[in-house]
Amino acid sequence: MAITMRKLILAALCAIAVLPISPSQAQQATEVQVTYSKGQFQPNELRAPADKPITVRVKNLDAKAMEFESKSLRVEKVVAANSEGVINVRALKPGRYEFYDDFNEKARGALVVQ
């Protein structure tokens, strides 16, 4: 009993050891930029091609922190006051993906993927 347990643990450890952790993505990502100032996204509609990874660069020009969040994009990231945040998004199907500032839900925008 104990021996099979040890074997299982060994197998699990081996599985963890070969987990593919790669710091760079294979495909080249498309970069889109959005500015956040006076509690608004500018522009509030971003465009990106479908089926390619996307990098969203959020520049927060306000003196307040904001949280870039989107359910459909599965992202949430706090961007400190007067700083910049980078958000990685997987390759997407065409569609409209809404995002907002979780600290100020009046600020909304969308990423249109075509």
Binding site: A2, M5, S22, S24, K64, A80, S83
Partner: protein
């Protein structure tokens, strides 16, 4: 004011649940308030420091500093929770059954306390840094609105504390014999959930790209953003759109924990038989 209250409460809520569980787990251990309180204080202090340097932190690792930092501290919490479970599987019953001298039990009892204090610290740090960032912003904004926002934040903090107490007293209603089993299950699920969250952060940082397809979407059933969804997210790691890798790691932590606990059990039985 209401917006500030909700934002702060949402963050503190998750930390409150975890602190409540840890308090219940350590119910009978002497000096536990000192350890847990220390964990909360250290976490809050660290949260303020992290928030103050949030800009710099996020610039690390090509803009992925925040994600990797979160993944790393979650990994620490998972390790501590799992280690606690395994340790308790070996020694917990002996301590509970007063089979050991009280002094020995106290000396041993500080080991899992340290682990749990780290878990509490990490929980407060993670949720607290967002609260601190938000409140920094409030302080930076001017005039009367700042005061009402700060008030909302304070009420939100208080409500989070209430969640902690409710969790604790709720768990303490469970009879002591069943409590041990209950908290073991709770801590195992907590650890698995945190591991799955760590995976999500590594995926966002693009450090983990294998098996990152969303397995299913149960958002229609229980949104992760609702209060019930958040509670389940903290307690059992509920995610409405888990990736395959998240599921794999979640199950992996459960399996490894059960195996490690089983492995330590025969030794305990043998020793109990020898002394008994």
């Amino acid at each position: 004011m209401l917006a500030a209250l909700i934002i702060v409460f949402r963050e503190v809520f998750e930390a409150g649940l975890i602190v409540g569980i840890v308090l219940a787990v350590t119910g009978s251990v002497p000096h536990r308030n000192r350890w847990i309180g220390g964990g909360v204080l250290a976490g809050a202090l660290a949260a303020c420091i992290v928030a103050a340097f949030a800009g710099a932190l996020s610039q690390l690792f090509a803009g992925m500093g925040q994600e990797l930092f979160n993944a790393a501290i979650l990994a620490v919490a998972v390790t501590m929770l799992t280690w606690h479970n395994v340790w308790m599987a070996r020694h917990g019953r002996e301590i509970a059954g007063e089979m050991r001298a009280v002094g020995q039990a106290v000396a041993d009892g500080t080991k899992p306390l340290l682990a749990l204090a780290v878990v509490v610290g990490v929980a407060v740090l993670r949720e607290g840094s967002e609260v601190a960032l938000f409140l920094y912003g409030v302080a930076a904004s001017d005039g009367g609105s700042a005061l009402s926002l700060a008030l909302g934040g304070i009420i939100g903090l208080g409500l989070g504390g209430a969640v902690c107490l409710l969790t604790y007293f709720g768990l303490m209603r469970i009879p002591p014999r069943a409590l041990f089993a209950t908290t073991t299950v709770l801590i195992t699920l907590l650890a698995a959930g945190m591991a799955a969250q760590a995976v999500a952060f590594l995926e966002r940082a693009n450090w983990l790209t294998r098996l990152d397809t969303v397995a299913w979407d149960t958002g229609w059933l229980l949104s992760e953003k609702s209060i019930a969804g958040r509670a389940m997210h903290t307690l059992i790691g509920y995610t409405d759109q888990p990736t395959e890798m998240q599921l794999l790691v979640y199950l992996g932590v459960l399996v490894v924990t059960v195996m490690l606990m089983r492995l330590t059990a025969p030794e305990q039985n043998a020793r109990a038989a020898a002394t008994g």
